[in-house]
Structures are given as C-alpha cells and as structure tokens.
C-alpha cells in the first residue's frame, strides 16, 4: 500500500487491472478446465469423480490467484495461463476422443 501512494501512474493502474483480470478470469478458466480434466482421469464412478473434482476446484483457484500476484513478469503470467488453459482443453478433448 505504501508504494501505491507515490506511484499511482496510469501504467501502474493498468498493470494492477491486468493482474486482477488474470487472477479472476484466468484463474477461473484454468480451474474450470483442470477440474474437467481431473474428473475424466479419476478412476472412480462418475458421481464420485464429479464430487472429488468440484471439491478440489476452490483449492486450485486459490493457488492460481495467489500465484498470479506472486509472479513478477506480467507477460509470463498471461502466456503461461493461456497456454496451460489451451493445453488442458486439448488434453480433455483428446481423452474424450474429440480429436
């Protein structure tokens, strides 16, 4: 907070906005795709796989959220988020036989 006062430039504000977007939306989609994949991989009954996956979802979301604010480089955040979401999606599609 102490730095926020003397450096409230437009650039700073934009970088904060970008980080929040990455954390909230990036985190959400990363979690959504990863729990979808997780439910496919779990060797339990369908109901159980769904339940285990949703129970783990918030934990994943939080980790991503915190990580986004822990990593220094903005570009790295966005690039790794987008590529991992894409990867998760493709893997899910592959397992389901869509590709």
């Amino acid at each position: 907070m102490s730095q926020a006062d003397n450096a409230l430039t437009l650039r700073y504000r934009l970088s904060v906005l970008s980080r929040f977007c990455a954390a909230i939306f990036g985190g959400y989609f990363f979690t959504a795709y990863s729990v979808a994949l997780l439910s496919l991989l779990l060797p339990t009954s369908k109901v159980d796989a769904v339940l285990y996956s949703v129970c783990a979802s918030i934990l994943i979301f939080c980790c991503v959220f915190i990580a986004v604010f822990g990593v220094r480089c903005q570009k790295r955040i966005w690039s790794s988020l987008i590529s991992s979401i894409l990867g998760l999606h493709l893997l899910t599609q592959y397992i389901q036989g869509g590709i």
């Binding site: 904060v16 339940l51 949703v54 918030i58 939080c62």
Partner: protein, 529 residues
C-alpha cells in the same frame, strides 16, 4: 510491480480485503445468525412457544399426519410431513397444489401440536430465521442467480484475503497473545489479528465449504464433461429423490401406506425419520418418500427410501451407504451449515462467526484509520475515504440495528396484516437505509457513539417488548426450563451491554481527545475512535 512475494501479498490482502468487505460483513453477519435459524423461527412464532415436547412415537405421528392430510387436502399433488425435533417442537403438515398452466405450484403449510394433533391456533405470517438464511446467500431485492455469483465472488476474495493474510503474518503465535488497547491503529490491528488468528481454522473452513455449497453453479464443468446432458444427468444420478414424478391421471383411493411402512419398520427398525413426502396421493402415480434423520452425523443429505404407493414395494434407496466422495462433499456442506451441531457446538459456531464479523469490521476500520492518520492537518479527506467511512458505520452499526427492527416488527405488527412476513423484512431494510442516511450526514466519531447508544437501547428493550406482547419473560422461561427462549432474552441483554460498553468507551475517548489537543481540534474531531 512489487519487489517480493511478501510485499505483493500485503498489497493483495489490503485491497482484496477492502473491495468487498461490506458485502462480506453482511454475509458473515447473516450466516452467523442463521446458525440459529430454527430457533429464530420459533421465537418469531409465539403460538408455538408453549407446545409441550413431543411424547408420541414416530410411527403414530406419521400415521396421524397422513390421516390429517387425507381429510384436509386429498386433492393436493404433494404431502409433506416434518417430524418434530429438539429445535422444532411442532409437527409440520404441508400440502402442495397445482395451479393453472405456467404458474408455480402453491404450498400451504399447517402445523399441528404433536401431542393433541390439533392445528396450532394464532400462528402469524413470518419468515423467521429463513430470512437471515436466505439473506446469507440470496441477498435480497435482486435476482437470485446474480446474488449467488456476487456472494461466491466475495467469498473467493475472502479466501484470498485469508491466505494472503497468513502469508504476511510472520509472527502468528506471538499475535495470539498480543492486545494493545488504547494505542489507536495498533489496537485495531491487534483486534484484527486476534479475531482472525484465534478462529482461523473456522474462517478457512467456513469460507471454503461455503464456496462448496454453490460449487455446481461455479464449476459445472466436471459434470458437463462426464454426463451427456450435463448437470441434469449428474443430478439424476446423485439426487434420485429430486426427480419429478408425473401424475398418471388415474384416480387411486387407498394408497398402500400400511404395506410400505410395515416393510420399512421391519427392515430398519432403529431408523429415525426426518420427514415423509407423498407425491400424487390420490393418483396411481403415488410415491412414498421417506427421509432418515442424520442426527449429529457429519452428512448433509438424508438417507432415502422410495416406495410405490400402489403396491407398497420398495422402489429405490439412496445414500444408505455413502461413498468416500459423497462423505467428503456432504461432510463439507454439513460442517458449513452446522445442522449437525448440538447446542454447545452451535454456540461455538456462533462465537466463531462473530469473531469473523469482528475480523472483517476491524479490517475495514483499520484501513480508514490509517489513511486518516496519514492526512496532514491542511488536507481534506478524499471522496474514497469518506465513502469507506460511511459504509463502515452504516454496515457495522446499521446491521445490528436493522436486525433488532426485524424482531420488533415481528412482535408489534398486527397479526392479521396482509403480507405480514414481507413487512417484517421491509422494516429490516428501512431501518438499515435510515442508518445509512444518518451516517452519510454524520461520518465522525459521534455517529459511532450515537448508534452504539441506540443499539444498546433497542436491544435492551427487546426482552421488555417480548414480555409485554407474549406475556412470558426471562423469569418464566427459566422457571419452565425453556432454555431456547431464555437464551434469546439473555443474548439480547448481552448485545445491549456490549453496545453500551462501546458507547462508554467512545465517550471517554472523545473527552480525552478534547483535552489533549487544541491545535488539531479540527482533525481529531473528524477522526473516529
């Protein structure tokens, strides 16, 4: 952006915490009160107060309930029998009726004295504890879906604030024992740390499991991946009892209740029953659904038996032997709702909930105070700071005041009033709005002090109001051993005392501040205690 992980977490904690803290306070406040949801429903319904504890066997209660519904509502499309419990003394018999096309079915609720089996006279229309329960996640005056997304979003922020709070906290054990009153912002910091750290496992648990209660709205993806028809298919698998049963159009006179219940009692003689539902009682599509009571088991959904009403044979059961995943998911929801708790544990839940409210409130206050302290005497407060201060007082002092308004409205509104239940809720929001308007005019310490005195007065008078309107009071409750109602009066008085102490403290500080500084009079007058 920030030099180290530690600094960025401090920053994250401050801003994530501030952004949604008032909504979070509302959620925590309503949730904490909801732990006593059934007790509040009981308090709000004086006609039920003097009902004696149920002495009937459950099978005779169910039989009487079915007989009652058969005479009162043979044409209903669903019957519902809720058996009395230690928290709800009455026997609930409700029936649902089809409306013309496009309209939702209409429920009619009736309550019987379990011992005499006569309808309870003098019931008033009230939402009771359900108001706070709904407020906790549906908010009010807004679309349900939107409200739930907002609540989820706020809860996620809460979880982030908690985790980043732990990260920035280097001296977590030292702070457990540290409280430095009379030291301005330091005292608030200690209050914030104390209420957070002491009840930290509770805060983490309640926030995480709270998100789990709405998880299928947040992340329907696993169900959509595994089931062709998505959530619908998953629900059909997981909640067989929630599947809609269509009426057949053929009439049936005598459903096979006896055969069905005889089979149930023979095979599960020890099972306590929570409720019985009969779908289409006068139709050949009749189904008898029996829900078992979980007692204090850490489970959310009830074990379930479904019988055909035409033949009386067992059609299906659910959750008699839940899998590990069901135990995990159900267990999380069960520890969140606290339905499993006996009275002692329920009070612990309540106290931890209050600690959560204090954690959020002290966080908001500290934020505003820090900015205030950094202002130079010549500077005026920014709009943002004024807004934070107004919202702080309006939420922290306004919500308790509004809650007392809800209780007063329950006792004082005429019982024959049209849409009475909604009027009670209206009083709650009008009082809250009035407090908010008042605080936007007086943002300083005086507002805190006056509202603290106001709260103390209304909460202290509440037992008096109760005594005058119901004819019973704290002493008669204790004599009769009615501890639930006695606890209400005691809790009201305790709340009043707390607010009185707060007001006293604020008054002392105001005089002390006046004596100390003459130069900075203007600034200190604007500062809040």
């Amino acid at each position: 952006m920030k030099e180290s992980f530690f600094r960025s977490m401090t920053w994250l904690h401050t801003w994530v915490g501030l952004l949604l803290c008032w909504l979070l306070f509302l959620i925590f406040f309503a949730g904490t009160i909801s732990f006593f949801r059934h007790e509040i429903s009981l308090w709000n319904q004086p006609a039920v107060h003097n009902i004696e504890h149920n002495k009937q066997q459950q099978h005779s209660l169910i039989e009487s309930g079915l007989e009652y519904l058969n005479t009162a509502a043979p044409e209903a499309n669903r019957w519902w029998i809720g058996l009395p419990s230690s928290r709800q003394p009455e026997l609930q018999v409700s029936h649902r009726h089809s409306q013309e096309e496009g309209k939702r079915d209409k429920w009619l609720d009736e309550r019987l004295d379990p011992n005499t089996l006569l309808p309870i006279e003098g019931l008033v229309e009230t939402k009771g504890g359900n108001f706070f329960y709904r407020l906790h996640f549906d908010l009010h005056y807004m679309d349900r879906k939107l409200a739930r997304w907002l609540v989820c979003f706020a809860s996620l922020f809460m979880l982030i604030a908690l985790i980043s709070g732990i990260v920035i906290h280097k001296r977590i054990f030292k702070d457990l024992f540290q409280f430095r009153p009379q030291k301005g912002v330091r005292a608030w910091l200690d209050a914030h740390n104390l209420s957070s750290v002491l009840a930290l496992p509770f805060h983490l648990m309640i926030t995480y499991t709270g998100l789990i209660t709405l998880i299928f709205m947040l992340f329907p993806n696993p169900a959509e991946t595994l089931y062709g028809d998505g959530l619908k298919g998953f629900r059909a698998d997981f909640y067989p009892e929630r599947q809609r049963i269509e009426a057949s159009g053929k009439k049936l006179n005598e459903p096979a209740f006896e055969t069905a219940f005889a089979h149930f009692y023979r095979n599960w003689p020890e099972q306590k029953i929570k409720r019985v539902i009969v779908d289409h009682p006068s139709n050949t599509a009749v189904n008898i659904k029996i829900y078992g009571d979980n007692g204090t088991l850490i489970r959310d959904e009830y074990p379930y038996w479904q019988y055909s009403g035409t033949t009386g044979e067992l059609l299906q059961t659910a959750r008699l032997d839940p899998s590990n995943a069901e135990m995990l998911y159900g267990g999380m929801i069960a520890v969140h709702s606290g339905r499993i708790a006996h009275p002692g544990l329920r009070w612990l839940y309540f106290i931890c909930g209050i600690a959560g409210c204090i954690m959020i409130a002290s966080g908001c206050i500290m934020w505003a105070k820090r900015i205030r302290e950094r202002l130079k005497p010549t500077q005026t407060a920014s709009f943002g700071l004024k807004l934070v201060e107004t919202l702080n007082i309006a939420t922290i002092m306004g919500l308790p005041l509004a809650t007392s308004g809800f209780f007063y409205a329950n006792r004082l509104l005429p019982s024959e009033m049209v849409a009475r239940a909604d009027k009670e809720v209206l009083v709650f929001f009008v009082v809250w709005l009035a407090t908010a308007l008042f605080t936007s005019l007086f943002r300083d310490k005086r507002a805190w002090q006056w509202l603290a005195y106001g709260n103390a007065a209304v909460w202290l008078l509440l037992p008096v109001c109760n005594a005058l309107t119901t004819g019973s009071n704290l002493i008669t409750y204790i004599q009769e051993g009615n501890w639930i109602l006695a606890s209400f009066d005691l809790a009201f008085i305790a709340t009043a005392l707390m607010f009185y102490m707060q007001a006293k403290k604020l008054a002392e500080k105001a005089t002390a501040n006046k004596n100390v500084s003459n130069k900075r009079t203007q600034v200190t007058a604007e500062q809040r205690a």
